[in-house]
């Protein structure tokens, strides 16, 4: 960024310019003042983002701590998550998040990376140019829409018919829906990483009598590994934070017993928060149920923050290579 000579450096001692000349070079004081004000205003706008981050942490921490102080701690380890009855079993919702996220990644990882390898290594550039935007459209689908789709099609056609589940609401249906939402994200980041691998490496590989499959798997993918890992972590982070698909398709709006059965209804951290907000005794006052909202939010924020920081590391490594 080139610095504009606004005259400040001329005020250093030792400047050997004729006084008249330096005054001319300093310019109009009003103009300089306006510049400084404008710069300050922009700076404030940027600093606002820090304020947001701080506010998130502060508001979450405040209520979460107050929540923990107001409840008997053993209610954090009971048979289930029933906040309105004072049962705040954390492992119920943690496992719920885990199960839904794992199902989502089981779908998104092979589909996303498979599609990415095809687009990067096998597809013609015209094919890639037409298909990539379509894939990105999938990413733009609002999660409520996917939630409705999970409930009305994925659940009856795949979970119940194909997999033999017997509940219309299930974590499996929600997990598959989240997986479909996350797939284009994984595909996009992984494809960018593989596309960035220099052609000279592929030429070296082909020159040594390798076929396309060998080149893709043994040369391109290892070279792009940071980006591929980053894509998976970003996908996982999105899956963990996904709310509406779970809220619609996983059932359990009142509460949930601890369960590890993916074919039954269940509750994730995000779903629990949504359920708390839409119950009949809504978001009022300082009841423990209300404050548990912030407690879960803090957990969620912490998890995704850690995942995002890890993925940043990999993205940086990916950019540094080339």
């Amino acid at each position: 960024m080139t610095q504009v000579p606004t005259g400040t450096h001329l005020e250093r001692p030792g400047a050997s310019l004729a006084p008249g000349l330096s005054a001319v070079l300093l310019g109009d004081p009003r103009r300089r003042r306006r510049e400084k004000l404008i710069a300050a205003a922009f700076r404030a706008a940027a600093a606002f983002s820090i304020l947001v981050g701080v506010l998130i942490v502060v508001s979450l921490l405040g209520e979460a701590v107050s929540f923990l102080r107001s409840i008997p701690l053993r209610s954090l380890w009971t048979d289930g998550w029933f906040p309105r009855r004072g049962m705040f079993d954390v492992k119920t919702i943690l496992f719920g998040t885990l199960i839904v996220s794992v199902i989502a990644m089981v779908i998104a990882a092979p589909l996303g990376i498979g599609a990415a390898v095809f687009l990067s290594e096998y597809a013609s550039s015209r094919f890639r140019r037409t298909v990539k935007p379509i894939l990105e459209t999938l990413a733009a689908i609002p999660s409520v829409v996917m939630g409705f789709f999970a409930l009305t099609w994925i659940s009856p056609s795949i979970v119940e018919k194909l997999m033999g589940g017997n509940s219309i609401f299930s974590m499996m249906a929600a997990g598959i829906g989240v997986g479909i939402l996350v797939t284009p994200l994984v595909a996009s980041i992984a494809e960018d990483a593989m596309h960035a691998v220099p052609q000279s490496l592929r030429e070296a590989s082909y020159g040594l009598a390798a076929r396309r499959r060998t080149t893709s798997v043994r040369i391109v993918m290892p070279a792009a590994v940071s980006g591929i890992v980053a894509s998976l972590i970003v996908g996982l982070s999105r899956a963990v934070g996904e709310t509406m698909v779970v809220a619609i398709a996983a059932g359990a709006s009142g509460g949930s017993l601890f369960t590890v059965d993916p074919f039954g209804p269940g509750q994730t951290m995000t779903g629990a928060m949504a359920a708390l907000a839409t119950g009949s005794d809504q978001v009022t006052g300082n009841s423990a149920a209300f404050q548990s909202l912030f407690f879960v939010g803090l957990l969620l924020f912490g998890m995704t923050l850690v995942l995002n920081l890890i993925s940043e590391r990999f993205v940086r490594r990916m950019r540094a290579k080339y």
């Binding site: 510049e35 983002s49 981050g53 498979g114 687009l119 096998y122 993925s311």
Partner: protein, 305 residues
């Protein structure tokens, strides 16, 4: 060293059978791609089948009726109004703030630790789940600032969405600014312009198409959000919006298009399923329009430069 007579060479160079492994591999990859696209097609197809039938039946009354517990009378008018008002807030607050922050980070900031911290911070905020922004909105706008916002109102909802979208605006605007060639700035400085003058007259106009596209896309993102609105009190039941002063309208109950999709999807009656599908059709059409507008704007303004 290879023994080289023509026949030996010819035999050696011959294809050793078909590469089944390679074909299978390519097939599996293509399958992955097609399955991903296939879900999209099934989703759109399913929704259209159910939704279009209802829209054909109800026509514009679907768009002009308020929500109701009777499926025959329910419509999305409040949802449309609510969504539009929310978008107004996003445009009015997040866009200027976000673009200003991007201008600072790209044009004014020296590469200090503080500024790098801001960039990292913005990127992390972009990755925070949307429902956490709902919590923030709940704590700040609904509770702490309830005098100004009226509690669980459109104002709170709009400001919450604005904060959610802010990091994305900053990131896309930054990218657009970074893409402006340095030569344009240098030309400006070369004729004695100040930094602000260079930015205002040269850099921003050059980056405008990219910034516009990015902001419109983030608007589309905000349009489709539900989780944070639920937390700041968008109504998920039936309510009646009567006449009232403008302030009452802004401080009163509201809903949005995605929220009403959520509400109706939870109702057991079969007719509400069709209503949900119809609402989704309206939602997707509007999103398509907004995304299409972004691309159109980018193409139109790119021609000038």
């Amino acid at each position: 060293m290879a023994v080289t007579t023509t026949d030996v060479v010819r035999r050696n160079l011959r294809r050793q059978g078909t590469d089944w492994g390679g074909l299978l591999f390519e097939g599996a990859l293509l399958f992955a791609l097609l399955v991903s696209l296939g879900f999209l097609i099934i989703l759109v197809g399913q929704i259209l089948v159910q939704g279009l039938a209802l829209l054909a039946e109800r026509g514009t009354s679907f768009l002009t009726s308020q929500s109701s517990s009777l499926p025959g009378r329910a419509g999305v008018s409040q949802a449309l109004v609510g969504s539009l008002m929310l978008m107004l807030f996003v445009v009015a607050t997040a866009f200027p703030l976000g673009i200003a922050a991007a201008v600072y980070l790209e044009e004014y900031a020296a590469d200090t630790r503080f500024n790098r911290f801001i960039t990292v911070n913005v990127r992390n905020l972009a990755g925070v789940p949307s429902i956490v922004y709902g919590l923030l909105g709940l704590a700040i706008y609904v509770k702490a600032m309830s005098g100004f916002t009226g509690g669980a109102s459109v104002i709170s909802g709009g400001l919450t969405l604005a904060i959610l979208v802010l990091p994305i605006v900053v990131i896309t605007a930054s990218e657009a600014l970074r893409a402006v060639p340095q030569g344009i700035r240098e030309a400006g400085y070369g004729v004695g312009a100040t930094k602000w003058e260079v930015v205002r007259s040269h850099v921003l106009p050059a980056a405008a198409p990219g910034i516009l596209t990015g902001t419109v896309l983030s608007l589309a993102r905000a349009f489709g959000e539900t989780a944070p609105l639920i937390l700041v009190g968008a109504v998920t039941g039936v309510f009646f919006t009567g006449s009232g002063s403008l302030v009452e309208k802004f401080q009163g109950a509201y809903t949005s298009l995605p929220t009403i999709v959520y509400t109706w999807s939870k109702l057991p009656q079969a007719e509400f399923q069709k209503l949900t599908a119809a609402a989704i059709v309206v939602l997707l059409v509007m999103l398509l329009t907004v995304n299409g507008a972004a691309i159109w704007l980018r193409n139109r303004y790119e021609r000038k430069w």
